[in-house]
Amino acid sequence: MNIPEDLKYTKTHEWVKIDGNKAKVGITDFAQHEITDIVHIEFPEIGKQVKKEQPVVVIESVKSAFDIYAPLSGKIININNDILESPEVVNRSPYGEGYLFTVEFYDEKEIESLLSADDYKKLI
């Protein structure tokens, strides 16, 4: 199972890449494997204010529909439109081209509650 060392993680299987006050978010390799083949993704609008642990994206696979949660509170400033037409990219490249959205977060302290790669490895 691929769990890059330089990312932060959540218990709900999102990964987070912090860059200044912005965080790029996607789902982990473990999550894409469990969700199985993704067929549809529903995004929030850009500019939406989200709270940590609030469901923001819905991912639908042949198995079921899954909520994806905001790892940090803030404002959605970008969504990955490229994957709307080809959701299989999330299965193929969950940490790369298949990222989901970028959130501009307000509270740096919330980062402390995210998991390290080691902690996440233990969780799964």
Partner: protein, 476 residues
């Protein structure tokens, strides 16, 4: 594959000659007149009959095979229900008839409401809703209207993660925010965890009892106390009422509002999107909010009362799907109170018999006892990239309808089995034998057999991913 009628059509041998000499005394404007032929298929009567008979033989149905679809309750539909629903007295009615001329129909509906009250412990029912999820939606509108009437702003609905997917969907559709509640490994709720997420904004919690893992919510009375102390309402999803009829009543457990799926508990057909019925029951204080029209008895007459100022309004044309309502009524009357209790006892016994045969061989996350259904977690037994989906497909080759898979979501690789009350011990045994053979033997020794399945059905393994991503929705 059976050919479509259009493909069977030939130039010659018409099945039926339409009389072209009929004079039609209607003035149709030229621009509205059809100038192409109708394009109806031209098929010999015998071929037509064979076409439909062959199609019907491809059906997987309760009348052809065991259907252990957990959560969905594929219950035997007694033929007496169908026979009575086909009486001319019912089929030749028109929904626009004056209520004075359909007194018998109204009486049946009125009596069914009373029977459902007795079975569930609620005070009033509405039969108008067209299906279970429609009943949920109506209930949530009632909850919203109730809090509006007492001038409280409550915007949140708590839904356990073991709930049916329709619960959060209905609540969101009715304008509420959903607060998920993590349940235990047997799907039950810990009262302390519930207390933590309760706020003055909590309107209600939606509970299915027994839950989707087939266990009875043993803390229900305490949950009821906690919820009511918070000023919130307790909602009963009646999906699993068939497990407890005649033993406990939602009304006595403290539920304020509920829906019933007539097909799950009262044996009406489980339509593939066809007509259903999802009656909503409430305690007396919520009665003013029920949909209109309300069937009432006034003197010697049954009337449709539209004058209910606090009602959430009308949710469906006319009074509801009457033939479905009628079939449920026939079922209740033909079994009586004792018979209905026996239905639940037998459903629970059948499920426990299967569970007892399987529990030492396959993981059972919710424990060794269940109500009317149970969940298996075979993940630890899988090697060679075999998954639950492959087991389900292989069961088709063994002549069974596959059980529910990958639900509830809280159990990985779940297989959910519900035998219902009418199956014989022989049927349960042969199904369990097949399941054990597939999971314990074939999955390790002949994994390719599972991956290739089904091979005996009209169509083989479908590419579900491709079908969802690039659906082809029209013929040719």
């Amino acid at each position: 594959m059976e050919k479509l009628l259009n493909e069977l059509s030939t130039e010659c041998c018409p099945a039926y000659n339409l009389d072209s000499d009929i004079e039609i005394d209607v003035q149709v404007p030229e621009n509205l007149k059809r100038n192409l032929s109708l394009g109806l298929p031209n098929v010999a009567e015998s071929d037509l009959l064979r076409h439909f008979t062959n199609l019907s033989r491809k059906n997987y149905a309760l009348s052809t095979t065991f259907y252990p679809l957990g959560s969905c309750t594929m219950k035997y539909n007694p033929l007496v229900n169908e026979r009575i629903a086909k009486f001319d007295n019912f089929t030749k009615l028109h929904p626009y008839q004056d209520s004075k001329t359909i007194q018998g129909v109204l009486e049946i509906m009125y009596n069914l409401e009373k029977d459902l009250c007795e079975i569930s412990g609620m005070d009033c029912f509405s039969l108008q809703q067209a299906a279970g999820a429609h009943g949920e939606f109506a209930s949530l509108l009632i909850i919203a209207k109730y809090f509006k009437s007492i001038k409280q702003k409550r915007t949140k609905i708590i839904v356990p993660d073991s709930a049916h997917g329709t619960n959060p969907a209905s609540a969101a559709f009715a304008g509420f925010d959903i607060v998920p509640l993590k349940s235990e490994s047997d799907g039950s709720i810990v009262p302390e965890k519930l207390k933590e997420i309760l706020t003055p904004e909590t309107a209600a919690i939606m509970l299915t009892v027994p839950n989707t893992l087939g266990t009875f919510e043993k803390n229900i009375l305490e949950i009821s106390k906690i919820i009511h102390k918070n000023g919130s309402l307790l909602y009963y999803d009646g999906a699993n009422l068939n497990a407890v009829m005649g033993m406990v009543r939602p009304g006595d457990m403290g539920f304020d509002i509920m829906h019933i799926n007539l097909h799950k508990t009262f044996s009406t057909p489980h339509g593939g999107g066809g007509p259903g019925s999802g009656p909503v029951g409430v305690k007396a204080f919520l009665e003013p909010f029920l949909p209109v029209p309300k069937i009432e008895s006034k003197g010697n007459e049954f009337i449709l009362n539209y004058e209910k100022p606090e009602s959430i309004g009308k949710l469906k044309a006319f009074v509801g799907n009457f033939p479905v309502i009628l079939k449920a009524y026939v079922y209740i009357k033909s079994l009586g109170a004792k018979g209905l209790k026996n239905v639940s006892e037998q459903a629970v016994l059948n499920a426990n018999y299967m569970l007892a045969r399987l529990k030492d061989k396959i993981d059972v996350p919710a424990g060794c006892r269940c109500m009317h259904e149970f969940v298996l977690a075979p993940k630890a037994l899988f090697k060679n990239a075999v998954r639950t989906l492959d087991v389900a497909k292989r069961l088709l080759d063994c002549g069974y309808y596959a059980p529910t898979v990958y639900f509830p979501l809280i159990v990985e690789e779940a297989i959910m089995i519900e035998p219902t009350e009418t199956e014989s011990k022989e049927t349960l045994d042969t199904f369990v034998d097949a399941l054990i053979k597939i999971i314990l033997e074939e999955a390790s020794l002949e994994p390719q057999k599972l991956k290739d399945a089904p091979i005996s059905t009209a169509v083989g393994r479908l590419n579900e991913v491709e079908a969802a991503r690039n659906p082809i929705l029209k013929w040719k």
